[in-house]
């Protein structure tokens, strides 16, 4: 049997489960809408204002800075695990990689992006 069938099965099942769960809830659940239920969900507290608001653009900077550390971990884990096999070359490569990320951090720091204002 073609091993790719499992990948296909995975896709089908992965699609069916959420569709099934939401569909069954929609079929069986009682529907008694009221304004509070229909309001926008905002982490439990009462919603303030419209939900179509402009977000502070500064959030994207945080996402970018987060990326510096996030990407670092993703690559450094396999790097650390296989370090013995890869030898000195990998150490130097790893250091260069970290230095580039540090450069990104220094840049954001100097630009004052780490201060919330």
């Amino acid at each position: 049997m073609n091993p790719w069938i499992f990948v296909g099965l995975f896709f089908v099942v992965g699609l069916l489960i959420p569709v099934g769960a939401i569909g069954i809830a929609w079929l069986l659940g009682p529907k008694k809408p009221n304004p509070i239920k229909q309001s926008v969900y905002e982490c439990g507290i009462e919603t303030v204002g419209e939900s179509w608001v402009q977000f502070k653009a500064q959030y994207y900077i945080f996402a970018l800075v987060f990326l510096v550390f996030d990407v670092e971990t993703v690559f450094l884990f396999p790097w650390a695990v296989k370090l013995g096999a890869l030898g000195l070359f990998a150490v130097i490569e790893g250091i260069i990689f970290i230095l580039i990320l540090v450069a990104g951090l220094v840049y954001t720091w100097r630009k004052g992006m780490l201060e919330w204002a």
Partner: protein
């Protein structure tokens, strides 16, 4: 997995420039706001040093990084041209960004990153590296296009360029995936080998190559993938447009030449007709629409589209081994001619541009001939070169190009090229007529670097047209390493 010094030698200029750009990004943080000229100088120095390294590599032919990058006559030639473009781009930008109030150190760093991406593109011998290079050259350009933030037209240009550019990159990736699907490899050498075997699906390979062509057609602004060009070229800061128009075109064509000539010679039968149509369409549409433009930036944008068409002519005979080398040399020569002319013309535009996008109408050039005879003379040279009239590089470039195309047996295409050049004479010479025969009081700015760049490009455009042989001989050594 071992890398030797030979590997590093192959990519030495690229590595040097990228490292320089990274360091410059940090150094710039400690340069006070009113002394950003230092950053510009350091960036130009980085390009000059890299240019020195590149020129010291003339004559060396090597592959490195597991056959993913090549150092050959072609890459050296293109890289030298790209680095000169970078230096000219900085010289044009330096005074301009200050005057327009958008001077930030990142401008120069982004420019360096973009140039390094372009250089990698010229050296890439693996479709994955081509893709990485494409991203490295494009992303800084998206940011640079929006550099005059919060000016709306500039933001629009950046956004448009980003969205359409990302879309076009998608085509390249999908094309690469299909090529990989057909051949099982992304290496250009591997693709050639696989294409020769009968078990390879030619259909899949052809579709993949066509998608790659679409992606690059976008980058070099070939019709029908040119829709973004006028808006982006007009909205972006003029200094960025100048760099973008030459740099991105050179790199895009370099990658196209290398990928098609080395990896897809087997597809030449199908691709030649497509390239023929692309070249003809691009020349016709670019030149005809340019006629109706009243804004100089928009006119030059359409002119840049039209010139993409002329350079595309050099691709049409790429599958014919008898004329391939000479047509590649002609294409490269034309890129040199276009780069210098283009920088000069945009330099004049910058000299007349005022804040808030004033001074950009062709009518604003009235009276320039009387008031600033030297500047007007330079602009005349550039306009003549863009038409392809003597005594300019543009003429020599077109002669070589048409000769190569006719030698390849595509006389019809050459005739379209000549006819569209005639059409283009109308709108280029209109600028000259406006400068000399209309009354007006144009105001210009005087900046040392700007004047130097304009004068230098004008001199190069004229002098090299009188002795083009040496330049063409160099371009002829820039043949591609074939597998």
């Amino acid at each position: 997995m071992n890398l030797t010094s030979q590997d590093y030698q192959v990519l030495a200029p690229y590595i040097l420039l990228t490292a320089w750009a990274c360091v410059l990004l940090l150094v710039d943080l400690f340069i006070p706001k009113e002394r950003k000229s230092v950053t510009a100088l350091l960036a130009a120095l980085g390009l000059a040093v890299t240019l020195g390294v590149t020129l010291s590599q003339v004559g060396i032919e090597q592959v490195g990084f597991f056959n993913m990058a090549a150092l050959d006559g072609f890459s050296t030639f293109v890289n030298a041209l790209l680095l000169v473009s970078g230096i000219l781009g900085i010289a044009l930008a330096h005074g301009y960004v200050k005057r327009m109030g958008i001077e930030r150190g990142e401008y120069y760093t982004l420019l360096l990153f973009s140039v390094s991406g372009m250089m990698l593109m010229a050296q890439a011998t693996d479709l994955i590296i081509v893709f990485i290079a494409l991203e490295l050259l494009s992303i800084p350009l998206y940011v640079l296009a929006a550099f005059a933030r919060p000016q709306l037209s500039s933001e629009e240009a950046g956004m448009k360029y980003f969205l359409l550019g990302a879309f076009a990159t998608g085509f390249v990736v999908y094309g690469t995936a299909l090529v990989f699907g057909a051949t099982g490899t992304t290496s250009l050498a591997g693709i050639v080998a696989a294409a020769a075997s009968p078990s390879t699906s030619t259909l899949l390979l052809t579709i993949g190559a066509a998608l790659v062509l679409v992606g690059f057609g976008f980058k070099v602004a070939a019709v029908p993938f040119h829709m973004w060009t006028p808006d982006v070229y007009q909205g972006a800061p003029t200094a960025v447009t100048a760099f973008m128009a030459s740099g991105a075109k050179i790199a895009g064509f370099a990658a196209l030449l290398r990928v098609f000539a080395t990896a897809f010679p087997a597809l030449a039968v199908d691709m030649t007709a497509v390239l023929w149509a692309l070249a003809a369409l691009t020349m016709i549409v670019g030149n005809v629409i340019a006629i109706s433009q009243t804004d100089i930036k928009r006119m030059l944008a359409y002119s840049s589209i039209a010139h993409a068409g002329y350079i595309l002519m050099a691709f049409v005979p790429y599958g014919n081994p008898a004329v391939r080398d000479v047509s590649i040399a002609a294409g490269l020569f034309y890129l040199v001619a276009y780069a210098f002319t283009n920088f000069g013309a945009w330099g004049v535009v910058i000299a007349l541009e005022k804040k808030e996008e004033k001074g950009l109408a062709i009518a604003d050039y009235a009276g320039l001939g009387r008031k600033h005879p030297l500047l007007a003379a330079a602009m005349t040279v550039f306009m003549l070169s863009l038409v392809g009239l003597p005594p300019t590089l543009g003429l020599v470039g077109k002669v070589y190009l048409f000769r190569a195309v006719i030698a390849g047996g595509f006389t019809g295409l050459a005739i379209i090229g000549v006819l569209t050049s005639l059409i283009s004479a109308y709108y280029y010479l209109r600028v000259v007529v406006t400068m000399y025969m209309k009354e007006g009081e144009p105001e210009t700015v005087r900046e040392t670097w700007l004047s130097l760049t304009t004068a230098l490009t004008a001199i190069v455009t004229v002098v090299f047209s009188l002795l083009p042989q040496s330049l063409f001989e160099w371009a002829s050594t820039a043949v591609l390493k074939l597998f």
